[in-house]
Subunit: 284 residues, 6 copies
């Protein structure tokens, strides 16, 4: 954490901590780019589940639990079949390899700072009761089971969405959901000790800056993926899948069947009596 | 051009060519992401000029003409002074080095194809009278003096915004304005013979595909720049500047003064009587 | 050219120049890896043309001539339709942009030097009457209309298949056919003055070395392409296509049709009366 | 594992598992490129050991055991002295850092799919009694002590030689020999739990595809190395050495001497009485 | 270790080990480039501490101890405030992530070998009583608490400043100080077992070579940092900070305050009663 | 040129232009790093020519003239023979391909800004009568026949050693000698119209900044080359050679012989009667 934060320590005595102003999610959905509650409902119309108060599809908790056993390969097979060819992103540094990332996408978009545009955006936000437009504005809206998914366009220097304090907050607020950022983080040593799955492009000691918040829970792009708010996010050692809610059940059911088959296959191989081609038909 | 297009040649006899349906720019401004005419006016409120019918700031033609003498260095100096630190993008292949790019930004955004989202977007477009959502939807809206600025997120294969036929059309429609694409083009041999300034990341023989049109004349990102519809686009051998309309006059006036100084400086240097430090004070 | 060559100048008086031993192509086809005349005929069984004395398919001269008008895009469309998805390679430095490369593939493969293997290969070659195994062994076998296609696995230092003297020879021997090398060349200034289309990865002053010749007119890999001896090689500003002989006629016929369509399209666009979507159906 | 495999689960009841057809190694050595048993014997004529049934040099088991203590540096020194300058490849992801890779090279080559060529290769294979030509064809031929060395030309998407099931099979068949692939693997989470040393370029969820098997136990290239079937493969945290059989004994003997010297050197240094230059003569 | 070293084993009996000639630091400070003791004192005039015998600022041991708790972020904040914008380097492989690097910079510079220059340098060195100019010349001068910081201009092959024996020596001589090299190391397996923090660009089996030692304890460049002898070097999982001695106390004091604030912040967040923006004021 | 320079235009009336203070080269040779006149003479002791007033070897003008016909290949061959393996640098953008660069190296070194060090350097410079330490300090010392060789450690943003005005001055002062910078330049459009050979890594609109001048006519590193003041610099389309003065005559004499041989070889090849191997002995 930097000195700026330390200064705020001294100001803290006069903070009335209990009076947190809850942001109305509907008004705060987007800043520069508008994506209304109705837009979200329209564009995720195939969602088979209920919705969170902020309008996002609410993939149920028991499905999140089942998703912890998924591998990227299993997701690939079902999504490919359903015509989703672009839901996988990789090339991240993985904070805790071996710990699966699972949760509902909470999306945030930043764009390069441009004072004329940002000035208008901030005035508009203030008019709607949002006092500031920063990474914390979004972070304060997180819910249990969320994965914070942030487009910082691969920025390294001043592209650090969180340091260890905010990372700790994200862990608490999402109940260890997770973080995916097409950008960087700060204080890797501090992060390493916090039990939150995280995927990022790089690490830098600088704080976030020279950017402007342009959207919360709007469609964003991470690598070659269009991510929608409420997508089921699943990450393993390789990369991250963003699964449309309507495909979640099939992915999970298919994975169960595959697990049984895999176990049986390895058992057969362990017996040493069969050639690989006798048991396992190559996907090709 | 590909076979698909050739097939359409055969279908052409039955086309009623004269009955072109003009797209209403206000309704077509954005697809997935909404950015209304009012939004555009709000976010470019500092524009000192009149506006085009589609709401974009209309940097006057005589200023476009004066801008042909600008270099990236001159733009840098004035924008830096005004607090715009992020308006320059480079790393492009330049089709015609030595030919300056000048025009008003007409922005287009694509995102990775996602069938559930694209299906909704297309239905919504059709309901508003836009029959298809493709690169041509946007290209058909171009005006003289425009530079087509396209976010194709650096895509190479299937990220080719135009081939030589559409490139020729863009040249005609913009009166040799220009093209900047964070993506690729097709048919470089064909393009080379057409007198339109163009900046692209790469070249590929494949047609555009596996993407969806998500916005026309909305704020987009090209490299590290937030580009607004109506920005003055200026490109030279090095890269491209996106100049907010309110800064255009100062940039041009300053450049005139600099040109006089440069001429005088070189004349002095040519005389061979002075050291460089006697005439030229280093910017540092 | 280097000193080593200069020394040979002095030895030249005693060379019996007229008595060139013509290599028997069948025996010299491959060195480390065997690919016999019969193999070549079997694996190119769909070839609709006659064959060269060395067994390669002989795409006729008039088709080579017609191929000079092809662009990568036109080739892509036909090959894609025929199920050839991997016949295009790019990422080369192009020596003479704007000059089309056309010819029949004469393939050569090098692998990293390994003395134990190379010793055996050279002994075997000598036993078959091939005195040396170098780049010149292959170059001496070139015929008019050939394009020399060389796999030097992207090697830069000591991966220079020719300098200006040998490049001049290739020009003479192939009647200005061409050169494609997944490796480097020497003496770029010298090469620039010689009228032979050439595609290479890099340039270096070192001579070729630390490699061994492992095959002549065998199947090789250039980037993501499997190249067969006798493929029609077509290169433009973007990259290089390797067209199986059986697809050549369709590619050429289709291109003729496309050219007519393109001319008509541009004429329509020049009239300024139509929107792009009225004339040109996007490939997507 | 993917759905395709799951379908095969249902077909499995009717498989007559015991009747595995053993491939005759001599006929299956190569597909597109021929490298006969005699070729293998000729090109590895300096092999001082006996040979495996498939003709490969058989570096003895006790030498494999001794090789577990080797480091890349020790191998480098001896091979350099013997004139082998190109036997080291690095730039891999290492699955189990700290676990030494040791075994006899079993080589496999893939090239980009080309339907005309692959059709002939498959017909020829069938005629010789090899029903299919896939990665499993090769994997089924592995023996204890083998390291599967695969040229997939650095391919990531669809360049995944194995997923977790086949990887498990390789572990069983080679008695934990190992895998080196100039390409990718699938299902990194699954692989991480299996105790087989593995070196690969990348990871991807897609299955292997758009390639054709072109050779088994032929000379192949991995990075800047020409690998011969039967080479001793040794990998550590840094990279992989491919040691010609005739150099194995010297490498091992030299390493023993070096280990004694190193132990002595560190003991001296630990005493703190000497300068580094008094004990250790720099290699330079 | 290589064979060359082993040969030296045999020569060791005749080494008179006790008679180590101690290099006079003042004369040996630089080789090709001169940077005298007085230069060092002049250029580090703001040093608030005493000096080591070789003239370097001597950041006290208790401050080294306190520095073990620093993170890159904390250093960044204070240095930025003091106008030091270029003291951070990253992009290293970190040998022991999670183990903090702390110590006083002992700098060494190499440049590409050039026989005419190196010959003169060696003659001059010999005249001053320095028998050889190698990496060991510098390594022998290390003191407890030092971090060896080496400019090998990113060289990989033959850019290996140490292997495991010399690395062990550095650990002993610096009392586990550390190593930062803009170049490579050898024998990563061996290094992994030695408890010395180390940062390097790459790993290679070759020994150091084709370079010449051009300076000891002179100003050098590591990435974008000018490193002065005696700088406090602090490295964590992310990268390395080179802190001018005059800034050390402020960095440490500020960090203590930050640690208290961070602990308090996380405690508040753990209670779950506050939004992040209520407790933590974002640095932006 | 930037506004800062324009401001200086207004100050110019009061400049006493004729009274240029000539810098004493001996005192100004180096700033942070010392490299005295005697050092220069010692380290270039093999120089067979006379010396310039600043102590650099003075390769005679007629040899510069002859060097215009050299290619990188010819230089390589002779230097390799003489044991100089590291005198070639490439990877530059070449401003005027086809125009040979020839001249005597005038070296300049920058390092990353560090206020404590730079403050001392500037005070020392002022004490010696050098009012400022900037790129112009060095540029003002250039002589006819010089090539300005600058180490800016590959810096792009704020690594621009000159814009078009200073570039014009360098052309005048060196009589079209040349520029080689391991860094960037500004105003590529302006540079393109000035007839001075130039090699640079990149182009950027920012002025030079955040660096400090650390040496003039000291040994510097450009890529993998140690460059000495007074080296003969020769550049072609491929890259740049830095030739030690003592090797210049042999390089030129050898090149003459090679040119005759090359002409004869091409004449023989043009006759079409010989195989390449009959005339040209491959360097391998």
């Amino acid at each position: 954490m930097t000195r700026t934060a330390v200064i705020s320590l001294k100001q803290m005595a006069i903070l009335t901590l209990g009076a947190a102003l809850l942001l109305a999610p509907a008004t705060a959905r987007a800043q520069l780019l508008t994506f209304s509650n109705q837009d979200l409902i329209d564009y995720t119309a195939q969602n088979p589940f209920d919705r969170l108060p902020d309008g996002r599809p609410n993939v149920p908790d028991d499905m999140l639990e089942r998703a912890r056993g998924l591998s990227s390969e299993e997701v690939w097979a079902v999504l490919e079949e359903k015509g989703f060819h672009n839901q996988y992103a990789d090339g991240f540094q993985v904070l805790h390899p071996g710990k699966t990332l699972v949760g509902r996408a909470f999306t945030v978009q930043f764009m390069p700072e441009r004072s004329d545009v940002d000035g208008v955006a901030k005035a508009k936000a203030k008019a709607r009761g949002v006092p500031r437009l920063t990474n914390q504005t979004a972070i304060d809206m997180l819910r249990p089971g969320d994965v914070l998914v942030v487009d910082l366009f691969g920025k390294k220097v001043n592209g650090t969405v969180v340091g260890d304090n905010l990372f700790y907050y994200v862990m608490q607020a999402t109940h260890a959901g997770g973080l995916v950022v097409d950008g960087s983080v700060r204080d890797l040593d501090g992060l390493s000790e916090i039990d939150l799955p995280a995927y990022f492009r790089s690490v830098d000691p600088t704080p976030i800056g020279n950017v402007m918040l342009t959207g919360i829970n709007i469609p964003i792009r991470i690598g070659g993926v269009t991510v929608m708010p409420g997508d089921l996010v699943v990450g393993d050692r390789e990369g991250v899948y963003f699964i449309p809610p309507q495909a979640v059940k099939d992915v999970l059911d298919q994975a169960d069947e595959t697990h049984i088959h895999d176990e049986w296959t390895k058992k057969k191989f362990a017996e040493g009596k069969y050639k690989s081609s006798e048991i396992y038909s190559s996907p090709k």
